[in-house]
């Protein structure tokens, strides 16, 4: 057992070192000496223990030896390792000298949150900015899913790993073997990213910008290489392309295989997709009306562009900045907060509660009312035409309760030190747990998280990872049940 786990860590460290080599390449291209040293150093620190473990410990390749709970531990610890290692270049290049700040920034990257503590992004070297965006791309589809896709059969049930990391209550099998599914998911992810890069290039972006933004957009992360975010480009074409791709990044990736196989009707017949589409359209319409009647907008096209962009960027939990929505009417802001809560589809790169859970919850309420009115009713809650198992319903309820309780506890903890005010702290906790990025008031799209104390930043980082790993995966390693009895 120990061999499997250690072997896993060995592989994983080498894998992370491999990821760090990409920004090293960029540093070489742009000839940023400090960054070359920083990345080289980070790679060395990572690869040496990895190699050591690989050479001293044999790795067993028996699939399925590991208990379910250890896959949770592996996934959670892998995220922590990735975050710590990933923050090294920031510290060593001197871009973010403070350790906790760097940790927060990397955490926000890997979890595709996009909250930042930097007030001047453009001052950073290009390779560091590239690494910042790459962390989001890696975290988007799941760093472990990528790992599993590249290295099948390292003694861990890939399915367990994926179900611990993939957003949403269900993991659909597209292929008979799980690592193949993981591979297919990544193929879809890469293809979409490349298409987006090409489209952005056509919109007049430089190659570097196009790659960076395509990565953060497909991952629904929201980091940008400019201080004023996407509004830097000031081009409706780029706004709409990004809106479209953020929407796509928020849909269930398994649905793409239906599309590839030509089953468009199956895509439109999917309950979650329909709900997602309708709620996004409804939100856009409401925000446009609100902006046109109460806001400062006179041009309808601009109002539609801005509201569509902001609605989609929030619902897909990306969090790009175009318009400063803090200045919008309260009604529009309230809609954005609701969207921060719901998030987009399951098995996408987005965070939040997920549309499927919201949908099932609405059906449960309807069912509950029917049950009260007609005590002896026999009826089922259906999803995509299939009856939902009672356990799934319990899981969904548990998730929702856990989500709200974590949100309240998180707000409480960051308020302890007395930073910010209630709105800022509540939306900061909300935006981190849903992996969105900006919040309201003091943490709005034109502000940053710098003013929180070290403790506050750690709590927010915790919330980001917990939110990214669907709460339970990360939180169970802090329960006493986890460590009891037959540990290791």
């Amino acid at each position: 057992m120990k061999n499997i786990i250690l072997g896993f860590y060995g592989f994983f460290l080498i894998f992370v070192a491999g990821c760090l080599a990409v920004p090293l390449l960029i540093a070489l291209i742009y000839n940023e000496t400090e960054c070359i040293i920083a990345f080289l150093f980070a790679i060395l620190i990572t690869i040496l223990p990895g190699m050591y473990i690989r050479t001293t410990r044999g790795v067993s390749f028996e699939e399925g030896n590991l208990k379910l709970r250890y896959s949770y531990l592996l996934v959670s610890s892998a995220w922590i390792i990735a975050t710590v290692v990933g923050s090294l270049p920031f510290i060593m290049s001197g871009s973010i000298p403070d350790f906790i700040d760097a940790l927060f920034e990397t955490c926000s990257g890997f979890t595709t949150t996009g909250s930042t503590i930097l007030s001047d992004v453009e001052a950073l070297p290009r390779s560091i900015l590239f690494w910042r965006c790459l962390t989001q791309w890696l975290g988007g589809m799941g760093i472990m899913v990528l790992f599993v896709a590249l290295l099948p059969g390292i003694g861990i049930k890939a399915r367990n790993i994926a179900s611990a990391e993939t957003p949403g209550p269900t993991v659909t099998k597209v292929s008979s073997r799980f690592f193949e599914t993981a591979r297919l998911l990544y193929v879809a992810y890469i293809v979409l990213t490349v298409v987006l890069i090409v489209l952005l290039l056509l919109g007049g972006m430089s190659l570097y910008d196009a790659v960076c933004h395509a990565m953060t957009c497909m991952a629904t992360g929201g980091y940008s290489t400019y201080n004023d975010g996407i509004s830097h480009f000031n081009s409706p074409y780029i706004y709409w392309i990004l809106t479209l791709f953020m929407f796509i990044a928020g849909t269930n990736f398994n649905l793409f295989f239906f599309v590839i196989k030509g089953k468009i009707s199956k895509l439109l017949g999917d309950d979650e997709f329909r709900f997602y589409l309708i709620s996004v359209l409804l939100a856009i319409v409401l925000v446009v009306i609100s902006l046109m009647t109460e806001g400062h907008y006179t041009d309808l096209f601009k109002a539609v562009t801005d509201s569509a962009f902001q609605v989609v960027t929030i619902v897909s939990t990306t969090g790009y900045a175009t318009a400063n929505y803090i200045k919008w009417p309260a009604f529009a802001q309230m809609i954005l907060v609701i969207l921060m809560l719901t998030g987009a589809s399951s098995s996408s790169t987005s965070g939040g509660i997920k549309e499927v859970r919201v949908l099932v919850f609405i059906r449960m309420i309807r069912f509950e009312i029917k049950r009260i009115l007609h005590a002896s009713i026999v009826d089922d809650i259906k999803y995509n035409g299939k009856k939902m198992a009672p356990e799934t319903l319990t899981y969904i309820m548990t998730f929702l309760s856990t989500y709200f309780i974590t949100l309240l506890v998180g707000t409480f903890l960051i308020s302890v030190t007395g930073d910010g005010n209630l709105v800022s702290n509540f939306t900061a906790a909300l935006t981190c747990i849903s992996n969105v990025g900006p919040g309201l008031d003091m943490v709005g799209p034109e502000c940053n998280f710098h003013f929180y104390s070290g403790f506050g930043k750690l709590v927010l980082s915790f919330l980001m990872v917990a939110g990214r790993l669907e709460l339970s995966t990360f939180m169970i390693i802090f329960t006493r049940h986890f460590w009891r009895h037959d540990s290791l």
Binding site: A330, I369, S415
Partner: protein, 491 residues
């Protein structure tokens, strides 16, 4: 006598009793109005009183009332429609009694009075005496009436209903003490009448004038928040009065089974297995935390700040919402605590509102249960509440309720954010919370609770619905929007 179906008889039975009670509630204010020669109040109160009592008695004379068991559906329908009709009648009386009220204002005021929400259109001080008294009496009827509904009507109401009382007070013994529902009603009414009387006497002894004491007693037992004393800000009262008020606000927000156990002399059971003990612990823990925070931040003596924190915590945890201390100067974290307390609310089957302590406790247990299930997917582990096993559907129901509560809170805030009075979403969220939990005091206005005067008619209607939803535990109000409620075969 006219023959009717069983369901109709049941509905008319409850409805006529409530109508007669409402009529009688207008009698004392009517005397006050006659005594002080408040001309504007005499006619609406007199007419209302006469019409309600006469209609009630006529219904009882005309129809045969004996009904047998009815389906839960009929219970819910009876509850919601009786409430709506009572609110409608109250609205009419307010409209004709207060010249400055529009129909929407009157509707808001009526709902706020009956749902024990401490928010009004006007300072209650400017009301004539008769209406001040009537408002407090409506508070009392709303609060105690809710307990009666919870205990009897809605028998399958998961956590506030009969099931919980019978869980806490073991079945046979509870039945022995109260053989029929009629007796249960009597017991409960006497308990609360007694409490109100004691409260009144203590206040008079402590030096409050009798009329204000009466209003305070009526409004405080029902956890409404004492609107008649400078809109719920009681910082100027003497310490003994504050202590008395705190104690009785606490008693008002305690599960009714607490009193039944006391009457049955089962003292040990109170601490061993009831929601009340949980509630008390939570109360002390919160006050302790806030007390420490205040004494550290504001450099006050600990005993003093603990006392202040305790009194203020009772006010919000019981969802009364009166202001005892200058809590707007408290540190941020303490204000956040107040916000949480309002959500958690009081005990089930009490006059308080909110999500209810029992449900919140179950939600916390569900979280830990969920995490356990992730580690041991096939394990069977029971979830307990008060040392009793919870059925899976009870567990799910409690959780659904909490999420539903949050959903209504957020959707309510969405509509309220359209209002010009909400400058930010924070205001909208706060007002929504104050309404849904029946507290009436928004956390942004801790220095001086505001009035509903400046809200738009749409907001007022939404707020009234939220108050009613909070008071009736959401489902009956949601049912109004379902098709199956309106089918002809219901009654």
């Amino acid at each position: 006598m006219i023959e009717l179906s069983n369901n109709k008889r049941f509905f008319l039975n409850i409805f006529s009793i409530v109508l007669i009670l409402l009529g009688f509630s207008m009698a004392p204010p009517l005397f006050v109005a006659l005594n002080f020669a408040e001309d504007a109040a005499i006619r609406p109160l007199g007419m209302g009183c006469a019409i309600c009592i006469l209609t009630g008695i006529t219904i009882r004379k005309l129809f045969d009332m004996a009904s047998t068991y009815v389906r839960p559906r009929i219970n819910y329908i009876t509850t919601i429609f009786t409430w709506l009709i009572v609110i409608a009648i109250t609205t009419v009386v307010y409209f004709y009694g207060r010249a400055e009220f529009t129909w929407i204002d009157s509707f808001f005021e009526a709902t706020a009075s009956l749902t024990t929400t401490g928010m009004g259109n006007l300072d209650v001080n400017v009301f004539p005496y008769s209406f001040q008294l009537w408002r407090s009496m409506l508070n009392w009827f709303g609060g105690v009436g809710m307990i009666l509904i919870a205990v009897s009507c809605l028998s399958n109401w998961e956590f506030s209903g009969h099931s919980l009382v019978s869980v806490e007070v073991p079945g046979p013994e509870f039945l022995k003490s109260t053989v029929t529902f009629k007796n249960t009603y009597k017991h409960i009414i006497f308990i609360y009448l007694g409490l109100t009387a004691v409260h009144f006497v203590l206040l008079v002894i402590a030096g409050m004038d009798p009329f204000t004491s009466l209003l305070t007693a009526l409004s405080n037992i029902s956890t409404s928040g004492m609107q008649h004393i400078s809109n719920g800000v009681i910082t100027d009262l003497s310490t003994p009065l504050k202590v008395i008020i705190t104690i009785f606000a606490f008693l008002g927000s305690v599960n009714v089974s607490f009193f039944i156990l006391i009457i049955m002399r089962k003292f040990r059971m109170i601490w061993r297995r009831t929601e009340v003990s949980l509630y008390t612990w939570r109360l002390f823990a919160t006050s302790l935390f806030i007390g420490i925070m205040i004494s550290v931040v504001n450099h006050e003596s600990f005993s003093e700040s603990f006392g202040e924190a305790l009194m203020q915590t009772v006010s919000f945890l019981s969802t009364s919402g009166y202001i005892v201390t200058d809590c707007h100067t408290w540190p941020l974290i303490c204000q956040f605590f107040i916000l949480l307390q309002m959500f958690f609310g009081a005990c089930a089957v009490s006059t308080g509102g909110g999500m209810k302590i029992a449900r919140v406790e179950i939600a916390f247990k569900t979280v830990s249960f969920g995490l356990f299930r992730h580690i041991h997917p096939r394990a069977v582990r029971p979830v307990k509440f008060n040392r009793d096993l919870l059925k899976p559907d009870q567990l799910v129901s409690a959780n659904i309720f909490i999420i539903l509560f949050m959903a209504i809170y957020i959707l309510g805030a969405l509509v309220l954010s359209l209002d010009n009075k909400s400058e930010s979403i924070f205001d909208a969220l706060n007002y929504s919370q104050a309404m849904l939990t029946n507290t009436g005091t928004s956390i942004a206005e801790l220095h001086a609770p505001g009035l509903a005067t400046h809200f738009s008619p749409l907001s007022k209607i939404v707020m009234a619905f939220e108050m009613l939803a909070g008071r009736l535990e959401i489902y009956p109000v949601l049912m109004l929007f379902t098709r199956s409620l309106w089918k002809a075969d219901n009654l």
